[in-house]
Amino acid sequence: MSKNNGAALTLSQVTKRFGDTPVLHGIDLSIAPGSFVAIIGKSGCGKSTLLRVILGLEPASGGSVASDSDAAHARLIFQEPRLLPWASVAANVAVGLGERGDGPDGAAAARQALADVGLTGKADDWPSTLSGGQRQRVALARALVSNPTLLALDEPLGALDALTRIEMQSLLENVWQAQGFTALLVTHDVGEAVALADRVLLIDAGRVTLDQPIYLPRPRRRGDPAFAALEGAILERLLDASVSAGSR
């Protein structure tokens, strides 16, 4: 895997409305190249919308998103693997390469990406024969095969069991360290955010209400008292946000 520079992002006064419903209210953010940013917040607060606006899949209603890298080098991983059931695992990974995936060097790159996520022997299998965790690894390989500068992940591990989740988290941390892309991870799991991110953003009612840097050394251990203290504090803020939202 070649080491790529991560994309730097600057959001200024980004707003988003669906019809008359405001979802994002003036988000200002500056994201350092190669950093790992986790986004948390209660359901419906606009996390997915924020990711989609950043990736240009939804136009912003106001404000601007600037990136020093072009949109073709950004990749999104969905909550579901979204593999093509009629294509082999290797062909699914090659989807990440676009037209280049049709050639022999595309096939080689796909196999390399599969090896990077620990699925060397599965290249010629059908997706339907894989486990849920393996399918999400294929989706990760598909996103990484084109050496993205920005990787956005929208609750990619939400459907996995606890053990597979932890395995996938360390896999994600490893590929991020190896490739150097900028990672934006939306998650419901505060522990996951603290384990992986340099910075945790809490979104509430369309605004960033907490911007918490995480300085813990890697690899992080969940049993660690500093880890637990941070996780507890962020969880507290998340619950506060939910309560105040509920009483509004």
Binding site: L55, L57, R82, V95, G98, P127
Partner: protein
């Protein structure tokens, strides 16, 4: 496991038809069953042999098969094309689909008197009926298949930068294929049925014509032979679609064995 099941059920499955055939032959040989009602299996076999030798059977078989294939290609081709058009473009759907759905309610065989007035009993009449018959199942299932492609996969294709052409080849067409093949299977059934009717009512050649001709001379053996050949052709067409399904839907656990 499935091999073992096959080897066990296969001989069992053949016992009943075999016994019936024996019973039939015995009743005919013993004179319980008049040849005017039902000919003996052996005399059906014998007439198959003589008609093959004098070229009548191969000729009529070829004529019928050519009609079936031509009608399928014309009607199926148009149905597939229009199905793609309405499936991929909302405007075409709103423009065409309501009309087609309305026309669909007319049983195509009810048009036979009209078709004879238009085309007489020429080749076009049969082609028109077969093409019309196979059109709807292919059209409807193509449209349905495209409409039911997982929208999450389509979104994935867009996010990963697929051009519309590539999206169609890689996502939409393979996603719609199971439904299209179901349509093809229906169409093949309708194809033979239409051909039987069209050939028995208005034709100067073909298996149906051979049967009607034989009826005039009370050759029940040839009538039964024609019926069996239609059954065989139907079975053949069905096996062909099954083979297509196994080839193109290998990825689907339901078709993989």
């Amino acid at each position: 496991m499935s091999d073992k099941r096959n080897s066990e059920t296969l001989p069992l499955a053949w016992i009943m038809p075999g016994a019936l055939l024996l019973l039939w032959q015995a009743s005919s040989s013993l004179g319980w069953l008049s040849a005017n009602i039902l000919p003996a299996p052996l005399s059906v076999l014998a007439s198959a042999w003589t008609l093959t030798l004098d070229g009548t059977l191969p000729h009529n078989l070829g004529v019928s098969a050519a009609r079936a294939v031509a009608g399928l290609l014309i009607g199926g081709g148009i149905g597939f094309g229009l199905g793609l058009l309405t499936g991929l473009s909302r405007i075409s759907e709103r423009l065409l689909d309501p009309t087609l759905q309305m026309v669909r309610n007319v049983p195509h065989l009810a048009l036979i008197p009209m078709v004879i007035i238009w085309f007489g009993i020429e080749e076009e009449a049969r082609l028109f009926l077969v093409a019309l018959g196979v059109f709807f199942p292919i059209y409807l299932n193509t449209l349905h298949g495209i409409r039911n492609v997982d929208p999450q996969l389509i979104e994935m294709g867009r996010v990963y930068g697929m051009s519309p052409r590539r999206l169609f080849r890689r996502v939409i067409l393979p996603g719609a294929l199971p439904s299209i093949l179901v349509g093809l299977r229906y169409a093949l059934g309708i194809m033979w049925l239409t051909l039987i009717v069209a050939e028995t009512i208005a034709a100067k050649s073909g298996i149906g014509h051979m049967a009607m001709n034989a009826r005039e001379f009370m050759r029940t053996d040839i009538v039964v032979l024609s019926i069996l050949i239609y059954a065989l052709l139907g079975k053949l067409a069905d096996s062909a679609t099954k083979a297509l399904e196994r080839r193109f839907l290998r990825w689907n656990p339901a078709y993989r064995r």
